[in-house]
Subunit: 439 residues, 2 copies
Amino acid sequence: MSEKKRRGGAGAGAASGSASKKPRVSTAASYAESLRSKLRPDASILATLRSLASACSKSKPAGSSSSASKALAAEDDPAASYIVVADQDSASVTSRINRLVLAAARSILSGRGFSFAVPSRAASNQVYLPDLDRIVLVRRESARPFANVATARKATITARVLSLVHAVLRRGIHVTKRDLFYTDVKLFGDQAQSDAVLDDVSCMLGCTRSSLHVVASEKGVVVGRLTFADDGDRIDCTRMGVGGKAIPPNIDRVSGIESDALFILLVEKDAAFMRLAEDRFYNRFPCIILTAKGQPDVATRLFLRRLKVELKLPVLALVDSDPYGLKILSVYMCGSKNMSYDSANLTTPDIKWLGVRPSDLDKYRVPEQCRLPMTDHDIKVGKELLEEDFVKQNEGWVKELETMLRTRQKAEIQALSSFGFQYLTEVYLPLKLQQQDWI
Amino acid sequence: MSEKKRRGGAGAGAASGSASKKPRVSTAASYAESLRSKLRPDASILATLRSLASACSKSKPAGSSSSASKALAAEDDPAASYIVVADQDSASVTSRINRLVLAAARSILSGRGFSFAVPSRAASNQVYLPDLDRIVLVRRESARPFANVATARKATITARVLSLVHAVLRRGIHVTKRDLFYTDVKLFGDQAQSDAVLDDVSCMLGCTRSSLHVVASEKGVVVGRLTFADDGDRIDCTRMGVGGKAIPPNIDRVSGIESDALFILLVEKDAAFMRLAEDRFYNRFPCIILTAKGQPDVATRLFLRRLKVELKLPVLALVDSDPYGLKILSVYMCGSKNMSYDSANLTTPDIKWLGVRPSDLDKYRVPEQCRLPMTDHDIKVGKELLEEDFVKQNEGWVKELETMLRTRQKAEIQALSSFGFQYLTEVYLPLKLQQQDWI
């Protein structure tokens, strides 16, 4: 570490070698470099982080099932009002399927044919619950009878998907949506249909899609102060080199999560992740670093939520300073509209926005040429975000977003490289942590 | 394993439960199931694989630097004719940069200004060398003088990139192209310019881009009978659960590669990878399984090549039966046009096409509805592939491609799921291996 630091100093010197030619950059660079001297010893920053972590572990576990049920209990007859699906083990899902099928069989034997009661997942049926800080489905079911020309095919598909899920659970394996589709292309027609019915089945059974053992492809990676078992294999994420550990697609195979980290650092992009991993940032400030490499996939969201719920650590986010970066935060925090029924299990409320924030651009004097003008589309998305509940709830976020829209400038995390390749890990992040500069 | 197998049997029975309703699928399914009985005991298949592996390790290591230099030695004055860049350690790259800069300084002091000699990377300058089975650059350099309005800016960018690479190497870190761009946005203007000059610098110095410590983002994953060190951390890929180990972006941090595998299984897609990982296919047939999740990225290509060169194992490929699957094979085997100068270090010649091949569709009686009609674009790409040298060299490949174009049908790996979710790992692949059905 100290060796690297010394080399770091030399490199910074080299970087300012061409200073005389570009005065403005040089001023910004030397100011940026001067911030290094503001850094207190690591021990002092660690003390700050420790109090953050302990405050977080004492607070009620936001978004955990206990808070969900508490919030729901405050309303009238909550189970009847909203659909909140939950993780279920295979035995429980299997017996739910059995019950459904037995009911259908009984109905057929009594001469009434059979019909499924399917919750509506329409957008008009999705509401944001401030208490839960999540989008949920209003309970409104429609009948899907087999003995009706309009619904016969869908009822058949539903029965088929139920039977396929049953087979998958019984074998104790996991499959993808695509696998499911290919088991009966003739019936399903196209994958959108089997996917849609899979979501129906998930709501009907009141369990998450991952409980059905139908998994999404993963692209997330994790490194840092974390150990867990992936399908029984013990994984030590401090020993995963620079590449990191691929986040498992099937969250139910993850167990035995342990960590001595003080926080979770959620990173939007691969390049910043690589910088943090190579510099072993987590050894200087004990943390777990993860990224979905852009738009968050389901596996990464499930994994983050598991970490948050089990370890009760604060989550700090490092994203680009643009509307898209905020959008990504919103997906982690509130879920996406088309998975709303599953949102309780996919979302991690209470993520702190560490950076890069619009106000950082001036605060750290990011050179003009490293900022990018916002496009019309960016501005449109930014304005829409201002209307979103998850933004409006946080005064600090509103201010930052307003700053972004006023200056019409955005910047990527990598813009910090203009002060040196390791500025992110050596100055920017430590200073942010020291100043508790998250909102 | 045996537990899973037993469950497998039960599941297969369940899958054929709805057989009476769909006779055609059922016939195909029962035929597919009958292939299971053709499987000989694993010990016999393993013997086949062992002889394949030993044949491969005895053959001259195709594509390794020794074969490259041997092939080149056969031509007249090869170094003068072609540019073949190679991996270099940091000290060597640094001293090459120093020599370039000293030459420039001497030239300036003698009053002649300075100029870089930059190899042309134009498409017209790229040739396919059958002996090497690779695309290389013809050596043709153009001067890039500073004292010329037309080239002054590019010469400045070149000098700047040389100095940045020097700083990166001295610090012993790795950066992305994007990081490099952000260090001097004002000079570079846009990233395409710094990227292009980076490629120039790579050719000028005669070393690979990864030797410059400028890395690509990784998306590949690996599991199976492989251990290696990633930045000093010992990684055992049999203990990476279902998620696998993310392939490191910086290949020069990979060392100590060891394996008791008999072959490398290169998989096009994530879903098939997951199936193989969850079923721990590598424990039944010792192998290393890797995927780039679609279009191969540079990190995965470098990693595959390292495995092939160091372990001298046969590489068997499992891709979709469509022109795109073959395209992916071609990128692994011959490189892509815009990285031709680096092709020697990125390509893995002699990959065997295991499946899914056009002839498999009938051989395994893949149901009609699981096959897809080729689009006009597919057919165009397929016809172009027929003209490519790497296809023409392999009679078997030509036949398969002709079959594809004649039937105008394509299929994904997952089409095999129509015979059961684990058909791929339990029947298709074992039978392929037993019958040595690769070309």
